[in-house]
Subunit: 139 residues, 3 copies
């Protein structure tokens, strides 16, 4: 069984945001899969996806603070600077975190750990509406 | 063909550990697949998975040293601090390295390069028993 | 439908290089898949794969500059040093960026965003010919 759907997310501000339920709601066919995989892909190069702690919102604000420190704006060696000081760091953060996540499906449910959620990582100041491609497969 | 299995790893100390054989031993059905994929997923947000050099153990101790330097404990901007100084860095390292790896299966074997192995990346001082979900599929 | 192929890339210099078309050309069977996934895996631990901006080449030179700053050569704590000053940083960069990428296939085409391309990330000064395993599956 294969199912694929494009999702357009609402605008999110710069930072890290939980989107697990937004994804699950769009592919109710997960319920029909005993063993399978969910694949989520973001069609952008200045936003990314990751899986991390879904309970305490300070984890997500600490993510924003850490990645801003680790991937500086206005580094003297940047040459790709025409689209603003947040652009090149956004490309770098996207590749460090990655453009896709995949999660096992077991008995009709995403088999995430107790504290795991899927994050949209919005690295631009004004990223706009981000598009995801969600693909599920299994038996 | 689909097969999925949950594996509970023994306790590993903080650091980077080779687990390739622990995974292969749990899914002997790999032998029955001509073309396929192995997917390994960790159900935690303070430990992660990656693929790297499996021969020289100093690569793994250098990983521990590098990530401790790159993702500091007690950064002044951390707000998620109640679970100990190793907790927030563990979440960050987990997302930088990732919660899953996937490896091609060819003619009944994982088709890793000559020097590649799968690492469990234990980022907590006392991470306890970590659970993996191993999914294989193919024909 | 499953198809797997090993690709040997030409020698690339240290840096980040677009290889999207090199991959597509090797698996024309993508055209026969309505819904599916492309998986690309690199069989090395000192080179990696990522997806990022495919238009402006300064993005790729900024990647090289950033990762050289973020993952230094000759860090005083490295112990894995026998293979040259570029070797241990190459292992670290490979795990930060990752050994595989996966991309949805839709109606016979890779469903990348408008500005997305697949990068070979060559972290060694003389990496030689790198081998990829490309696996496509779908219906």
């Amino acid at each position: 069984m294969w199912k694929q759907k494009q999702i357009t997310l609402p605008h999110f501000p710069r930072g890290f945001h939980l989107i697990t339920n937004s994804i699950i709601d769009e592919v109710p066919e997960i319920r029909d899969i005993s063993v399978g995989l969910l694949h989520v892909f973001i069609q952008h190069t200045s936003a990314s996806l990751t899986i991390n702690e879904d309970a305490d919102p300070t984890v997500r604000t600490d993510f924003e603070a850490y990645f801003n420190a680790a991937v500086p704006e206005n580094a003297p060696y940047y040459r790709h600077t025409l689209e603003g000081s947040d652009d090149m760091p956004a490309h770098l953060k996207s590749s460090i975190l990655g453009s896709s996540v995949s999660v096992p499906i077991t008995n009709g449910r995403l088999n995430l750990g107790s504290w795991q959620g899927i994050y949209l990582c919005e690295h631009r100041n004004r990223g706009g509406h981000r598009k995801l491609l969600v693909t599920i497969q299994g038996v």
